[in-house]
């Protein structure tokens, strides 16, 4: 265990996987929340502006 914690043996491969996994988890969580916030924000802006030409407003991606 001490060797594993000190990055001995194959531990570097394991800790690389740990770092990569937590980076993916954090990325998924943050991008999902940011997308929801951004969509809500754009809907609010659209409401405030109340554009007469509804078709010109594009929300995709």
């Amino acid at each position: 265990m001490r060797e594993f914690l000190a990055m001995g043996g194959y531990a570097a491969f394991v800790w690389s996987c740990v770092g990569l996994s937590f980076a993916v988890f954090a990325g998924l969580m943050l991008t999902a929340r940011r997308r929801l916030r951004s969509v809500r924000g754009r809907i609010r802006i659209r409401q405030r502006n109340a554009a007469p030409d509804e078709g010109s407003w594009e929300l995709r991606a």
């Binding site: 969509v39 809907i43 609010r44």
Partner: protein, 249 residues
């Protein structure tokens, strides 16, 4: 064939949006807690493997990622099929929300698999291995779905075209699952999902089960958040969407 009434009620966008908003934080935080417990158990409490030493601990990140990559593809394909057959807009929204999450987990499964392959097989990748190649095909199917969906201007056309691709790609799932049994493979055979008792000791198994459960909850929470954004986009002209957006201001 008609859909059951309860499913129609659940498929109503405002109803789904409200339910998803309520359950998503519970799923997210319980999932993160389970991932923390599972990672602690797998990295620090589980004993080293008698053959692989500590390198086997990659299993605690690789297996949940690979499992979710397949489950999310199945969810995307089922959502697309329901959308194609019953023209249910919510099903298309869920399929579109599951795609980027599934792509991320497939990429993670491939990367962690490569990092496991190098010390155990002596190579990061082997093109002759059916399991590795079929998972890479799934990665490109996810990517193809997302690119096709983003490239078509008309949303209903994009949903249908990408949905057909997702449904056709389902044929790859049994190939991934049974590739290690059908062909000679560097990848090991099934350890847990087999009819006999698992070929892994309980001390190593429980952190893996906790990690899988936590990752499932986490991925569902993230997919629900993305699905809520998709629903808002698709229903942006509806009164309830304006009220929901204002309520969160």
């Amino acid at each position: 064939m008609r859909l059951p009434n309860w499913l129609h009620k659940f498929a109503s966008p405002p109803h789904f949006y409200r339910i998803a908003a309520r359950i998503e934080p519970w799923m997210l935080w319980s999932g993160l807690a389970a991932i923390a417990v599972g990672a602690f158990g797998g990295l620090l409490l589980a004993p080293p493997d008698y053959q692989q030493g500590d390198a086997y601990r990659i299993i605690y990140f690789h297996v949940p990622a690979a499992y979710l990559a397949m489950q999310l593809y199945a969810l995307m394909a089922i959502g697309s099929a329901i959308g194609l057959i019953w023209r249910m807009k919510l099903a298309y929204a869920i399929a579109a929300a599951a795609a980027p999450v599934g792509l991320a987990f497939t990429g993670l499964a491939l990367a962690t698999g490569m990092l496991w392959g190098k010390p155990m097989w002596g190579a990061y990748w082997s093109w002759g291995d059916a399991r590795l190649t079929s998972v890479l095909v799934m990665f490109f199917l996810y990517l193809g779905y997302m690119l096709l969906h983003a490239s078509l201007e008309e949303r209903s056309t994009a949903d249908r075209a990408a949905g057909i691709l997702a449904v056709v790609g389902v044929v790859n799932l049994p190939i991934i699952k049974f590739s290690v049994e059908w062909w000679s493979s560097l990848h090991q055979g099934p350890t847990i999902s087999r009819l006999a008792a698992p070929a892994i000791t309980w001390d190593m198994l429980w952190p893996l089960l906790v990690m899988v459960a936590g990752s499932v909850l986490f991925s569902m929470a993230v997919t629900l958040t993305r699905a809520r954004a998709e629903v808002l986009l698709r229903e942006r002209s509806a009164r309830w969407v304006r009220d929901a957006a204002e309520a969160c201001a």
